[in-house]
């Protein structure tokens, strides 16, 4: 019990004193997960738009697969990207193993199904009449998809936030692809895992508080946007 109280006190000190290492880990976490979320959005939102808009055979099945992958274990995403990026893998020549870029790729793989799924849910909230109105006004397929995405932008933004949340909080893929290299690929979650196993609880708690604070800021920000 005493340990926890002590840990929290030290954590607060670490945060207030703007401890260099804590700041660096936080910045790296944000950079990697925001990059992953941005790239995943650029892929998932249009893909979701076209899946929603087009009628094709196997659409139902595809959606089921996407929904299943919401629950993709982070270590499986890590394993998949590991197989692709490791020295003997098809993209081994790129030398992306144990780099932040590799971690970004792993997080993209992890959150894309979730974000496509959330886009589909958001777009199904746009009434059929709206979609038909857009078509009737002479929208091409592309213009129609863009316009309905804009109609559903707050709901889609919710999916983006969810994707970001999953990316910044996952530890499995970051550990497997990044390797938790100090000063290079160490992020909040891998740092917490390591420091806890080393008994360095105060640092773990400090990092945990920061992780939660980021989550709160992000969801709070979304709330503000939606309220407007």
């Amino acid at each position: 019990m005493n340990e926890i109280a002590e840990g929290i006190t030290q954590a607060v000190q670490l945060i207030i004193s703007l401890d260099e290492e804590v700041l660096a880990i936080t910045a790296r976490s944000l950079l990697i997960s925001l990059s992953a979320t941005l790239v995943a959005s650029l892929i998932a939102i249009p893909v979701g738009g076209f899946i929603h808009f087009r009628e094709f055979g196997g659409k139902r099945g595809l959606i089921t697969i996407i929904q299943t992958l919401y629950a993709l274990p982070t270590v499986l995403a890590g394993l998949l990207v590991f197989l692709l990026l490791s020295r003997s893998g098809p993209f081994g020549f790129l030398g992306l193993m144990f780099t932040p870029t590799g971690m970004i790729i792993a997080q993209i793989v992890l959150i894309i199904p979730l974000m496509i799924g959330m886009t589909l849910i958001a777009l199904s909230g746009v009434s059929r009449i709206k979609q038909d109105t857009i078509l009737s006004l002479g929208g091409t397929e592309m213009q129609t998809v863009i316009t309905i995405i804009r109609e559903a932008r707050f709901a889609i933004l919710g999916g983006v936030i969810l994707g970001f949340g999953r990316a910044i909080s996952e530890v499995g893929a970051a550990m497997m692809i990044g390797g938790n290299i100090r000063g290079y690929t160490r992020v909040l979650t891998t740092a917490i895992a390591l420091e806890t196993s080393m008994g360095n609880l105060s640092l773990s708690i400090a990092l945990g508080i920061i992780l939660l604070a980021i989550a709160m800021l992000v969801t709070g920000g979304l709330f503000l946007i939606q309220e407007r």
Binding site: S127, I129, K130, D132, T133, I134, L135, S136, L137, G138, G139, T140, E141, Q143, T147, R150, E151
Partner: protein, 362 residues
């Protein structure tokens, strides 16, 4: 301009349209009238290429649309605009909404500004440009939807029940606007309604749609007074539909036996033909207990069994051996000092009666 040739439309198991054919001319107001669920909306959606017919051919401006590729479909759609029954505002201001079609066509900003304000002016909402489209009343949104549809100056305007959810004042505004768009700007207008009277006010020609089939195509007069079958007659407000047999026929003026009552009506059918007699409720007049002679050809006496006021009018049902329903003004009903259970004479002209053979029933 628009031609349907034996078009069939199924949604899953449900047959929505059953081999319908019609042809709409350039520059006319063509109205589909029918009860809800009869397939009117589906017809408009097919014209706007929003759905693909299950079978049959659709020609628009001479082009068979079934062979069109997606890109050509967009081009074809850009000659028309559809206003849906419950128009949905898209995000943004009223101007943003009205400009949408022009933006899709990559019009430059100056052209967009000019055409948007023109369209808003036509619907009488010049002042509304900056308002948020999401907070308009039903009538306002309906007019914005029309402005949105005409801003691109389409050749064909499709209107699905344009006044179904509106108050009488808004309805009148929309109806006047429809007439102006057609007469002044030459837009071909295809509209659907369940209101026969609106069809009469607006349409050059009417197609009565019942249960996925077209019952009759004609002017409102033809449909009001010469319905081709029982369903069309009901839709057209012909309340007296009586079955009888031709008893005599003297050179086109027949005497029809209905339940022992004889009625004179113009008909070419020979004696013995089972027929259906159609008589509009407005064509029946009352002359109270003292039967002063009228010019009507048919006069019978009966007892009033039902009185239902409908605004300034009264719907009166009389049992005169056959049940007849008439609509007269509240005032004449009072002037004749008529009342429930009282005996009265009713009269109607032979020429007001429309006689069809019973075999024609569907």
């Amino acid at each position: 301009m628009i031609e349907f040739d034996r078009v069939v439309m199924n949604y899953g198991e449900k047959e929505v349209l059953k081999q319908i054919s019609f042809s709409i001319r350039k520059g006319e107001i063509y109205t589909f009238i029918g009860p809800s669920g009869s397939g009117k909306t589906t017809i408009l959606r097919l014209i706007d290429l929003l759905d693909r017919p299950t079978a049959g051919r659709i020609l628009i401006g001479g082009t068979d649309i079934s062979s069109l590729r997606e890109r050509d479909k967009v081009q074809m759609r850009r000659n028309m605009s559809m206003v849906f029954q419950k128009p949905a505002p898209l995000r943004g201001s009223v101007s943003d909404n009205v400009a949408m079609g022009l933006r899709f066509r990559h019009a430059d900003e100056r052209e967009i500004a000019v055409k948007t304000s023109e369209a808003l002016q036509k619907v009488g909402l010049d002042e509304y440009g900056e308002r948020n489209a999401g907070i308009l009343s039903g009538g306002e949104m309906q007019r914005v939807a029309i402005a949105r549809a005409i801003a691109t100056r389409p050749d064909i305007l499709l209107l699905d029940e344009p006044t179904a959810n509106l108050d009488p004042v808004s309805t009148e505004k929309i109806e006047n606007l429809i007439i102006t768009l057609n007469k002044k700007f030459g837009i071909t207008i295809v509209l659907s309604t369940h209101d026969m009277v609106q069809g009469q006010r607006l349409a050059d020609r009417i197609a009565v749609v019942i249960d996925g089939r077209i019952g009759q195509i004609g002017t409102s007069m033809e449909i009001f007074y010469k319905p081709v079958n029982r369903n069309v007659a009901r839709m057209a407000g012909v309340e007296n539909i009586l079955e009888g047999t031709i008893a005599e026929n003297e050179g086109g003026l027949a005497s029809v036996d209905i339940n022992g009552i004889r009625i004179s009506a113009p008909s070419q059918f020979p004696p013995g033909t089972p027929v259906v007699v159609y008589l509009r409720p407005e064509d029946i007049t009352f002359h109270g207990k003292d039967s002063t002679k009228t010019s009507a050809r048919n006069e019978i006496t009966g007892r009033i069994i039902k009185v239902v006021p409908i605004g300034p009018m009264v719907r009166v049902t009389v049992d005169a051996g056959v049940k007849l329903t008439a609509v007269i003004t509240q005032r004449s009903f009072e002037d004749l000092s008529l009342g429930l259970g009282e005996e009265t004479g009713v009269a109607f002209k032979a020429s007001a009666i429309h006689v069809l053979e019973q075999d024609h029933l569907t």
